[in-house]
């Protein structure tokens, strides 16, 4: 379907553009002709039933895999992009502090211990800074992962169902920080399980269904179109 013209398809102010992206896994079509535009300061939800290719779309957007067909145009440098997914990227043999310092190094950031501790206290892990991450619960690992993302101060933030398996407090923290990032000017792309809950946070939504882009536009349009229709999955 054509892009919503109100979203400014021709605008230059975008971080990422996908144009008629089609992807096959082996010989199986995952989705075809997905086109979208990610602008700064917006939250985009990626939704759709299981197996609709949400994670694949995220991987294409992050540049992890290249699509079988179509154009992907990235304007964000790699070190200004962060990914927070179901996998935490936490090394269980290292302490929380060491984990953070390692990722800082990988992203060529200079961080002293004080700054790291500050980040850890932001996510409520200050008391556990020197403990091995292997002993952390899922929620704690994900908080540590969030600290990694915050450290990067990303312009482009990709979230792939980061909330799964988290307790309400952690989820609240997550949503809070994400909203802050978006207000700070970052573009956020968010794969969501709990569409109804997260809809109010988002500006735009892309809905994948039947191997194609079933909807792409503002959340307002989406809500009015789906009025009364459940989109639980």
């Amino acid at each position: 379907m054509p892009l919503n013209t109100q979203t400014g398809y021709f605008s230059d102010n975008y971080l990422l553009r996908l144009d008629r992206v089609t992807h096959f896994f082996d010989q199986r079509l995952v989705f075809k002709d997905v086109s979208l535009l990610i602008e700064p300061r917006t939250v985009t939800l990626v939704a759709g039933p299981n197996g609709a290719g949400k994670t694949t779309l995220m991987n294409i957007m992050s540049g992890l895999i290249s699509p079988s067909k179509g154009l992907v145009e990235h304007k964000v440098p790699r070190d200004k992009m962060a990914f927070l997914g179901h996998n935490t990227f936490v090394y269980s043999g290292l302490s929380a502090l060491d984990n953070l310092k390692f990722w800082a190094k990988v992203y060529y950031r200079r961080l002293d211990d004080d700054e790291c501790m500050q980040l850890l206290s932001l996510v409520g892990l200050k008391a556990f800074a020197h403990e091995k991450a292997g002993f952390f619960s899922r929620g704690m690992s994900q908080r540590l992962s969030l600290a990694r993302v915050l450290m990067l101060r990303p312009d482009f933030l990709l979230l792939d169902e980061p909330g799964t398996g988290l307790d309400p407090d952690s989820r609240k923290l997550l949503r809070e920080k994400i909203t802050q990032s978006a207000q700070g000017g970052a573009a956020v792309v968010w794969v969501s399980h709990t569409l109804e809950e997260d809809l109010d946070l988002a500006d735009k939504i892309i809905f994948l269904e039947n191997k194609k882009q079933a909807f792409y536009g503002t959340t307002r349009d989406f809500s009015s179109r789906h009025q009364g229709k459940g989109f639980e999955h």
């Binding site: 990914f83 990227f89 269980s92 043999g93 990722w103």
Partner: protein, 217 residues
């Protein structure tokens, strides 16, 4: 990257103890193959030394690459601005350190169990070990990631890597035998040439090809 890997390996310990133990057992069992009172030839001793090293290589690189698999940190590295070749170099370097550490145990074992006492030239020996290890870790680091996620990754990796190593191992055995005072061999420099070309070829190939192995598909 290297310091992180070393920290992880040593905090756990099993990553390095296993290859050392396996190598020592190999040397010991091999010493049983010679009848009492007979000497083990320098070439046989060198062969067993490099065989133990090859097994250690497989275990070391499997451990090194499995570090990134636990919480899919590999994805994180792939998304980072760091070039992938950096991963290859770091792993190769960490592997080299661990391999040298293992050899530090294998060598005395060769002396004790296989009765090799007349080392001709210690510095040359160290040079030979480093030269051959270079080629070993170049291959190990290039292909170490291929068997990740597979149930029998150790044996799969050995089947893939061992045949590739043959020229290098032949060179290592020959040079080792020479320096252990066995064969009096004029072709030491050409063997060194083989080992050097092996290291150079695989380093070059790895720098170009490693991203294909490590990438997500």
């Amino acid at each position: 990257m290297t310091s992180k890997d070393l920290k992880l390996i040593f905090s756990d310990g099993s990553g390095i103890i296993q290859p050392i133990l396996l190598g020592l057992i190999l040397v010991f069992v091999f010493s049983l193959s010679t009848p009492i009172g007979e000497e083990v030839s320098a070439q046989a001793a060198a062969s067993i030394f490099w065989l133990a090293t090859s097994f250690a290589l497989i275990l070391v690189f499997n451990t090194l690459y499995s570090i990134e698999e636990t919480n899919q940190a590999r994805t994180g590295l792939l998304l980072s601005p760091m070039p992938l070749q950096h991963v290859w170099i770091s792993k190769a370097f960490t592997g080299l350190i661990l391999l040298l550490l293992a050899q530090l145990f294998f060598f005395p074992a060769i002396i004790v169990f296989l009765g090799q006492e007349n080392v001709a030239d210690w510095w040359a020996l160290l040079g030979v070990i480093l030269l051959v290890d270079w080629g070993l870790v170049a291959v190990g680091s290039l292909l170490g990631a291929v068997s990740q996620g597979h149930a029998s990754r150790d044996s799969l990796l050995s089947v893939v890597i061992f045949p590739l190593l043959i020229p290098l191992l032949l060179a290592g055995i020959r040079m080792g035998a020479h320096l252990l005072g066995g064969a009096d061999d004029e072709s030491l420099s050409s063997w060194a040439g083989i080992a050097f070309s092996f290291g150079a070829v695989f380093t070059g190939a790895a720098i170009i090809l490693f991203p294909f192995v490590y990438n997500e598909y």
